[in-house]
Amino acid sequence: MTKLARILGVEAIVMARQTAVVLCQGDNRKAQLKFRYLGLEDCNAAQRIAGGPKACPGGCLGLASCQRACPFDAIEMTADGLAVISREKCTGCRKCVAVCPRNVIRMTPYESSVHVMCNSHDKGAAVRKYCQVGCIGCHICHKTVPEAYKVEDFLATVVYEQDAQAFEAIPKCPTKCIRDFNEGYPEGSTFLPINNDKSDAA
């Protein structure tokens, strides 16, 4: 790889494999709209109209701009309007991250399968009003596994460097906002987790 880097004139940096994740589970059935949007089916175009049709300022708009940007067919839209990214197909090119107006797609370590599926910094009461599965900043995840979660501005995020025990907080989350992708993809997705059970390999 360093030889290739030398030929191309760039520096080769060793990185752990990364995969993109849409940190949201607020599809049409779980999250509310602030208005009906009739226009160009494009997330950036919709965002320009009064900040987007979704009541939540950070959630996925579901107009598939990321899916169109992805050169690897790694992104699908669920029937209820949520973008979901395949951990296996994603190569980490970041084109989806660049096109998303909501900054709801994040690059995460491939080894980390537990994610807090929310991107809203609104206070818990406000989030409750517009989304059934949003993070309300209650700190329960952090209290359960202190090293694996940090809560900033009413939003919890996984501390990926220390997330070995993060899965323990999943059943404790009151809005079922935390997901372990090894157990399954968001509702409506056709992607399946690769079975990590080593006993099959034997």
């Binding site: 009739l38 226009g39 160009l40 320009r48 009064a50 900040g51």
Partner: protein, 440 residues
């Protein structure tokens, strides 16, 4: 006699019959006024009052920031109850000064009558700036900036826009009929500043009463009343300039590049108030209309009145509206709810029912070129939109997306229901973003 016009354009049903015959009515004060600090093109004003402070009608509550900015004033006397972000007609929440009216509605004491003959041109412009006068046609560009063209761009033709080509809107029409003295005094004041060789008031031929009245009143004055062919968007600045002077504003240019300045007739009336009475711009005529409102009216409203108050004053809704538009149906801003205040550029409030909204799904372009025929700026909307859709920024710019005035004629005529204006706006945003990134 053939009336002057421009190339392209469309003929939407004018729907002015709802309100064109209705005299302007004063709108009573609501319980709360929300005066946004940003109502104009240019830097937003900065609050210069405090919560708990009592303010008089016309008192400055936000100071201008920089040259292309204007101060903002209290629309009535009362107490400042909050200075916070509030829903704004532009779609987001922006800082506003919230005033609870005290019912006295008493003017600030430092207003006095000034004989304009005693003022120099610069002093007149300063009064206009202090009064926060902005373009009342909707764009809200600070008038004092327009009145200060650089010396190398002399203005030889001063145009007044009494065209009001947007369907449904009749506020300028009623102003010309009922307040012609204020309008014409403003015309005279602006002519004093510009010293143009020719002064013209352009009015669309669908307002014969206004044309007749102004012709009579200007019979002995060096002011030309120019009836124009009824076509949208005749009231757009560049189209008005072409119809009145035969000159084309160059691509990327401004009216001053062809020696012309354009002001709306209501802006002229606001200039009269500012210069002669020292009154700041705190009210305007707004046409509340549409099939979803019980009693359409031309209301004299104060800046900061919430939309739900206007709806109440007009008898309430016929049914839940499908669309709430601040402005006209072609270029107005659709609102998310009634919780926003009217601002200086709010010439109309249009309530449409669900059944009035055309919502066909987008189809493929059939290259019919109706949009090319309709475009008043001689552009090719279909091509610009196609490039914009594919994020081909250089080509979008090459095909003159930046010259688009976003009038909506192309979207109106497209048989495939392609959202052309939205695509072109998307393209414009991409061109501007690229220019900004290039500077970094």
């Amino acid at each position: 006699m053939k009336l002057r016009t421009f190339k392209g354009g469309i003929h939407p049903p004018d729907n002015k019959h709802w309100t064109s015959h209705k005299a302007i009515e004063d709108c009573p004060l609501p319980d709360e006024m929300v005066v946004p600090l940003s109502q104009h093109i240019g830097a937003p004003s900065v609050a210069c009052v405090e919560v708990g402070q009592h303010v008089a009608k016309g008192q400055e509550i936000g100071s201008a920031k920089g040259f292309v900015s204007v101060p903002v004033h209290a629309s009535t006397s009362g107490e400042v109850v909050a200075i916070e972000n509030r829903p704004h007609p532009f779609g987001t929440s922006l800082p506003a000064v919230v005033i609870k009216p005290d019912g006295e509605d008493s003017w600030s004491s430092n207003l006095q009558f000034t004989d304009p003959g005693s003022l120099t041109s610069d002093e007149l412009i300063e009064k206009v700036r202090q009064a926060g006068v902005v373009g009342m046609g909707g764009a809200a560009f600070p008038a004092h900036v327009k009145m200060s063209p650089p010396p190398e761009k002399p203005i030889h033709t001063l145009l007044f826009n009494g065209v009001e080509c947007e369907p449904y809107l009749t506020s300028d029409h009623r102003m010309m009929l009922e307040e012609s003295e204020r309008v014409l005094q403003g015309v005279a004041l602006l002519q004093y500043v510009y010293g143009a060789e020719r002064v013209v008031i352009g009015i669309e031929a669908n307002k014969p009463d206004a044309i007749a009245l102004l012709e009579k009143q200007c019979a002995d004055a060096p002011v030309e009343i120019l009836p124009l062919q009824v076509k949208y968007p005749q009231g757009a600045e560049k189209q008005l300039i072409f119809a009145a002077t035969g000159r084309e504003v160059p691509s990327g240019g401004l009216p001053m590049d062809v020696g012309v300045a354009v002001h709306n007739v209501s802006t002229a009336a606001a200039v009269t108030d500012a210069v002669m009475l020292g009154r700041p711009l705190i009210e305007r005529v707004c046409t509340v209309t549409g099939p979803a409102i019980k009693e359409p009216k031309n209301l004299r409203i104060r800046i900061g009145m919430p939309l739900f108050h206007l709806v109440e004053v007009c008898g309430g809704l016929v049914e839940e509206p499908g669309k709430i538009i601040l402005g006209g149906p072609m270029m107005g801003f659709t609102q998310v709810g009634f919780d926003v205040p009217v601002i200086r550029g709010s010439s109309g409030l249009l309530l449409l029912r669900e059944e009035d909204i055309a919502n066909s799904p987008e189809g493929p372009c059939i290259r019919c070129a109706r949009c090319v025929q309709a475009c008043p700026m001689n552009l090719m909307p279909t091509t610009i939109a196609a490039y914009a859709r594919r994020d081909l920024v250089e080509e979008t710019e090459e095909y003159c997306a930046m010259d688009c005035i976003e009038c909506g004629s192309c979207s109106y005529v497209c048989p495939a229901s392609i959202p052309l204006v939205q695509l072109i706006r998307h393209g414009k945003a991409a061109v501007l973003a690229k220019k900004r990134n290039a500077l970094l």
